[in-house]
Symmetry: C2
Subunit: 236 residues, 2 copies
Amino acid sequence: MDTRTRSRKRVVDWQAHTNCAECSLARGESFQCALLPRREGGGAPIDKLAYGARTSLYGEGDPAHFIYVIREGLLKLTQLAINGMPRIVRFLHKGQLAGLEALSGGPYRHTAEAILPAVVCRVPLESFRNHGHDPSIAPHLFSLWQRTTDDADMVITQLSTGTAQGRVARFLLHVLSEGKEDHCVALSREDMSALLSVTVETVSRTVAEFKRQGLLQESKGVFHFDRRALAPLAAL
Amino acid sequence: MDTRTRSRKRVVDWQAHTNCAECSLARGESFQCALLPRREGGGAPIDKLAYGARTSLYGEGDPAHFIYVIREGLLKLTQLAINGMPRIVRFLHKGQLAGLEALSGGPYRHTAEAILPAVVCRVPLESFRNHGHDPSIAPHLFSLWQRTTDDADMVITQLSTGTAQGRVARFLLHVLSEGKEDHCVALSREDMSALLSVTVETVSRTVAEFKRQGLLQESKGVFHFDRRALAPLAAL
DNA sequence: CGGAGTCTTGACTCCAATCAACAGCGGTGG
DNA sequence: CCACCGCTGTTGATTGGAGTCAAGACTCCG
């Protein structure tokens, strides 16, 4: 077992109370910020927070008092696997919600950490609860739920089976590239290991081999790759 | 690749229009059948259907016109993995919903098959849509969503990592036994294989070995096992 | 410059996949 | 009725891919 404690600094780089009326995500393009009226009604404040890369919003098992709206950046949700290493179960992009399990009353199910610097709106549970069932945002909550389960199922069927080569190829083709781009964020080998359930060494070997074959380049935190050439490998 | 087509007969053993007022699941103990008023209003009928073991409710990719309320039995949701074999992503028990992705407009994401004979209420999408956002059932929908994601995450972190022994042990301790019972439905080796991402042969060997060590007995479709003795193996 | 963390590479081991054969069981039909 | 067939489960022999352990290279940053 590896006991090195991963960076868990709860560093908040920047903070200010939020005016939901100005939220770019509030006007239909993403999460419907129906929380505004509640806040004016005197509820707990909604803060806008910035988290640096590799800082955590909350930890698995922590009491869940906030729901987070992701406005910028990229998060990973991890759970400890039996071997003591964190396993990435999902990524969260702009517009998605983190910590929705707060509504169910239990603790946070995951540790949420920023992969890219993130800006989030931290919504107190009470504020959310009174509006989360609001019919006007229910359809949007539902589509977020659908995205969550689709992502989870993708991890199960595409990223936890087959050879290491195949998993890496499918990760590149389908996950952070959203199935369309020919580039995506270059994860650390450790993160890819935690996502694909293979060791860091194996990930490193596989990525290195892809680079040697000209299927993949890495520069300044970005993977560029050849979707066409990678496709056959994704079947392994 | 194995091309044997699994039993996909859409055999419906029994069928009748349903009176939601009589539904044992309608009165708070499980899914809140808020659909009743709609039905009286002249919507498409809600049928109560019985499916035999190993029959399918719907297939991955089929157009999704119905949402199913599970009243009795046990279902598995599967998706085809890259090797062409179905992978079990989730089980559904009494009170849960199948095919909720119909609301998002896309096709069914999974194939749903009965493991134990099942009785379900088949709710036409239109009927559901008008009440799925009903504030009175939103909290219940939410708790079902939480259960779904918790289950999916369990598959990712507990059943897709570690040795074959560990996976089987964790399956027995945490999945169909609900983490409490000392017995559960005895799945076929093929289903365990599809759930744990190991070959049928390896599952068979592992189960046989557990039996030899007295950790597990199988009789009449039920696994009985020794939680205490299995616990250390679950850490592998 | 030095040091910690990350990434890479090598050598060896081992668990599970693969290929193959066979037993048990139930169903079906001659 | 019993022989046959298909399906499920079991077991064995062999192989291969990834885990493990170890060492060194690289990068970033104080």
